[in-house]
């Protein structure tokens, strides 16, 4: 057997905090072979980033305990003194791609220099030579060499992340650690970067350690998967085995909770929360969420080897040797969401709506318009759930804010229950706002930090003239009950920071419901939440919408979440709606080339994904300041018709009954 490239033995890392010791990495053992990609999969807070930091020794000040052996090519790099480690290991042999953030690059240093830096620092190359090499890796990750002398703020988010990737590859290290490299990016950009990674792995033979919370992304490159839970690896095995048939109960529940584009079975959520890393239970850490728990689980489970390079930390597999098969996992099935037939009563009619923002220079000279919403038409019926899907910057949120009456439309109109929105006076506008609830993306930002939950929920009631204290209290309690925060007394006196993200989002939903609205607009309601909580919140929204016969406008960039949580879908691109249809028709028979690209870029977890690259359009999302002429998608469209698509805006056509698409391809021959 060949010696692995990296072998980690009993790695531990703990932090000292005011409230106690946080054990973030608790005795990890794993190995990575040459040209192998290991995915570290786990919910946020399970210690994934700490693992990356521990391997590269980028530790914060408050480390309490740091131990273990890390063998790189057979040499224990943990035993090296800091200076040796810095000069020999860092970047030349192990490099890091940081969690995709706007902040991973120094804002005042040219990106080329930042990429080339390690070469002149560690290898003593001349700046010129290092810069030439930087140009090569720029091409490798798909960024033109013209950008070498640019600054980070002159690059789009996707390009910046490619630059960070180029930086990691510049010294041709044997191992690249990537911490959530794409999670902040758009679907198409994300898929484009994953394509690059696959090619680089194939061509350069680099080993990767990819850290992610996203099961679908992880399947894009994984050879092997390590599933982490509360600081430990609970399952370690090949990607083929893990994605098809996970062994650990947590792995199975996690796979069931993943929303999939091409699956009609509804995703379930995992009840409960991961344990506090300061107060770990003595037995199995997953025990209080585990449907298969039995008496032995009070003891800390030992890793059980299932086959070669495949182990599970769960007692279910302990007596397998005797019985030949593991104990059964008993899971109470989650009830299937009901949907009601579509009503024919139009609640909202939107006609030729434009929301433009004036861009001013020096505060007075008009520099142009940002055409955030650029001519959209649609009807929303009473009691239906619709999803607006599109990449960030396509105008989804501006549309939401216009519907909420927060921005006046530049042109066109919104008619709500027969009333024209721009004809409303101040008092009527207030009434209108009570009829439309709003659920924001960031629940923590949406709740005033210094208000208790009771206060935050009574606020809208007071504003809308509910004077009676008793009535307010009753309505607040009913709303909390409806979002399943019960008993209400546990939550009413709390402040937002004392609640988990999912609970905060429930409070925000309760607040949006409390004035008995006819419609709720939810702008990316789950994108800031963890995967297992997402499904839970979406189910909740869908259930409430159904029960109350509400109209729900659900805004998302993630196509895979819409299947079970909406009746109809509108796909937006560059400030316009390019395709509209019922969910199943749209997902199964996408008509518009942009929607087809989105569907192609959206991965369902499958070990096969790693083997092939996806067909994707190149280019960047269109500028809303200077949108392309004709069809906004034409610069990226593989089917664009010269002389037509780039000149004339395509009309809305109906290639299938009830399925609309704005594309010249559907015109009558």
């Amino acid at each position: 057997m060949t010696e692995p490239l990296l072998k980690v033995e009993d790695l531990r890392l703990a932090y000292q905090t005011e409230r106690g010791i946080v054990t973030a990495v608790d005795g990890l053992n794993f190995e990575i072979r040459r040209n192998e990609a290991l995915v570290i999969l786990g919910e946020s807070g399970c210690g994934k980033s700490s693992l990356a930091k521990a391997l590269l020794r980028v530790l914060p000040r408050n480390v309490n305990h740091y131990s273990g052996r890390v063998l790189l090519d057979g040499v224990d790099i943990m035993a090296l003194d800091p200076e040796r480690f810095r000069q020999d290991v860092q970047w030349l042999r192990i490099s890091l791609v940081m969690q995709a953030s706007m902040n991973a690059l120094n804002p005042v240093v040219r990106v080329g220099e930042q990429v080339a830096e390690p070469l002149w620092v560690h290898r003593g190359w001349s700046r010129q030579k290092a810069m030439t090499r930087a140009g090569e890796v720029f091409e490798l990750v798909g960024v033109s060499g013209d950008f070498l002398r640019r600054y980070p703020f002159e690059l789009s988010g996707g390009m910046r992340q490619r630059v960070v990737l180029a930086m990691a590859l510049v010294a041709e290290p044997k191992l690249v650690i990537m911490d959530e490299p794409t999670s902040a990016l758009d679907v198409l950009t994300q898929a484009g970067i994953m394509n690059r990674l696959k090619r680089i792995k194939r061509e350069l033979g680099t080993s990767f350690m990819l850290i992610t919370h996203d099961v679908a992304t992880s399947s894009e490159i994984a050879d092997r998967v390590a599933l982490m839970y509360a600081g430990q690896i609970v399952e370690l095995g090949s990607a083929a085995q893990f994605f098809a048939n996970p062994a650990h109960p947590y792995g199975r529940l996690l796979m069931d909770s993943v929303p999939r584009l091409h699956q009609t079975r509804q995703p379930d959520h995992i009840p409960g929360q991961p344990p506090n890393l300061m107060l770990l239970p003595s037995g199995c850490r997953f025990a209080d969420r585990c449907p298969a728990r039995f008496d032995r689980c009070d003891e800390d489970p030992l890793p059980q080897s299932l086959s070669e390079r495949n182990e599970v930390r769960c007692w279910l597999y302990a007596d397998r040797a005797e019985t030949g098969k593991p104990r059964e996992l008993h899971k109470t099935p989650t009830p299937v969401l009901e949907t009601r037939p579509l009503s024919k009563e139009v609640l909202v009619a939107v006609q030729d709506l434009h929301t433009w923002f004036e861009l001013r220079q020096w505060g007075f000279i008009r520099a142009g318009y940002v055409r955030a919403v650029n001519g959209v038409n649609f009807h929303l019926y009473r009691g239906e759930a619709v999803a607006f899907v599109g990449e960030s910057g396509c105008g989804k949120s501006s549309l939401a804010r216009t519907l909420l009456g927060l921005h006046p439309p530049t042109r066109g109109e919104v008619v709500f229950e027969g009333h024209h929105l721009d004809a409303l006076n101040k008092h009527e506008l207030k009434q209108y706002r009570a009829r439309v609830g709003y659920v924001q993306q960031d629940p923590y930002g949406a709740l005033p930090p210094f208000m208790t939950i009771r206060r935050a929920l009574s606020e809208p009631l007071i504003i809308h003239g509910v004077r009676d204290r008793k009535e307010r209290e009753a309505r607040i309690r009913a709303a909390l009950e409806e979002v399943r925060l019960s008993p209400a007394d546990d939550y009413l006196p709390k402040f937002p920071h004392m609640l988990s993200g999912g609970q905060q989002q429930r409070v925000v939903i309760a607040r949006s419901l409390i004035l008995q609205p006819a419609m709720i607009i939810a702008d990316e309601p789950v994108s800031m939440l963890d995967a297992s909580v997402r499904v839970e919140i979406l189910r909740l929204l869908r259930t409430i919408q159904n029960k109350r016969e509400l109209t729900l406008a659900f805004i998302t960039h993630d196509l895979s979440t819409v299947r079970h949580f909406a009746d109809r879908i509108f796909v937006m691109y560059g400030g316009r709606i390019v395709e509209a249809a019922t969910v199943d028709d749209l997902l199964d028979f996408p008509q518009h080339p942009y929607t087809q690209a989105l569907v192609a870029a959206t991965a369902d977890p499958d070990a096969e994904n790693a083997a092939q690259e996806r067909e994707l359009p190149g280019g960047e999302p269109p500028s809303l300041l200077h949108p392309p002429t004709g069809c906004h998608f034409h610069p990226r469209c593989p089917h664009a018709i010269k002389g037509l698509c780039d000149v004339e805006e395509p009309p809305e056509l109906e290639p299938r009954t009830g399925h609309y698409s704005a594309c010249w391809l559907h015109r009558e021959p």
């Binding site: 980028v58 030349l92 120094n106 810069m131 030439t132 720029f138």
Partner: protein, 372 residues
Amino acid sequence: MNPSKNPSIPKKAEGLLRDLKLMLLLTGKRIIALVLMVLIGVYLTILIANMGGRVDELRLVQIRSEISEAVRGDLSFRELDSEERNQLIQRRVDLEVRRLNLDRPFLLRSFNYLYRAMRLDLGRAEQMHSDMGSREVHAIILERLPATLLLFGTANLLIFFLSVYIALWLSRHYGSLLDRIVIVLAPTSAAPAWFYGIFLILFFAFLVPILPSGGMVRAPPPEDNWNYTLSVLKHMALPVLAMLLSQIFISIYSWRTFFLIHSSEDYVELARAKGLPSRMIERRYILRPTLAPVITSFMLMLISMWSGAIILERTFSWPGLGTLIFQAIGHHDTPVIIGSVVIFAYLLAFSILVLDIIYGIVDPRVRIGAAQ
């Protein structure tokens, strides 16, 4: 890796050229904006000062005194009796008044004043004169300006570099003894420089008399340059120290905190992971991105120190602009006061221009953003 391909790498010179162009553009724009600002500021001063007709009165007085001096000094008018001489003077004054449009609406004249003020044609002092004996306000002011610039320039540069250096060091050794001392001493900066000045004078000039208590140079001034410089340095020591004491702890403390916050930025962490030496991380990844805000806070500090100049210079009898204003107020010498305001407006505008240019150099976002 892919040697067949020849990636296009822009030449270093291209980047530099672009930066140079951008900087020129930025500087040009800023100069126009600042000239406008000074114009407006000085014009407002003129308007305000003219509320009570003060400036006109001054001009009249000045014209009258100039003409009568000329007439009286002219031998050819010796024979005239006082009545005739007064008439002659009156006629000439009237002529001059008409020539200068003093009988015309104020709006017209105000622009004339503005023009003169901008050209530093500040008129003549009523009472005061320069050491060289000139009564021209601009001569009086220009004589005092270098002293002020020397004192405050030295003190501020010293404060700036010392605090940045120490703050960087402390951000690395956060929690050390020196760090805790700085935290404890930070509130002492609430007291103004002259307050420390008084104690310093008491201590170094009287208790342990090793340094002079006031003035700028020994009297009589030493002949050779070397001794002259030495004497000036000695005289500067106490006022500079006073300013240092009143500013340095708070600026070290606030910048150290600032650097500390910025050293947990993602790009700093990534630089650590890259294995860059810690000095390089400090300079390139902590100091450079934060330099622009650091300079801004320094500028604010500087402006607030300007306003303390009058009392501080008074305390140390430093013959600068502050002392000049103090004396001018004492003498009710309005042209000198107005002139000083104009000079201050210029100084302020100039400091802001320098700040803007430095800003553009250290922060590409400013440079490139301003050009778009």
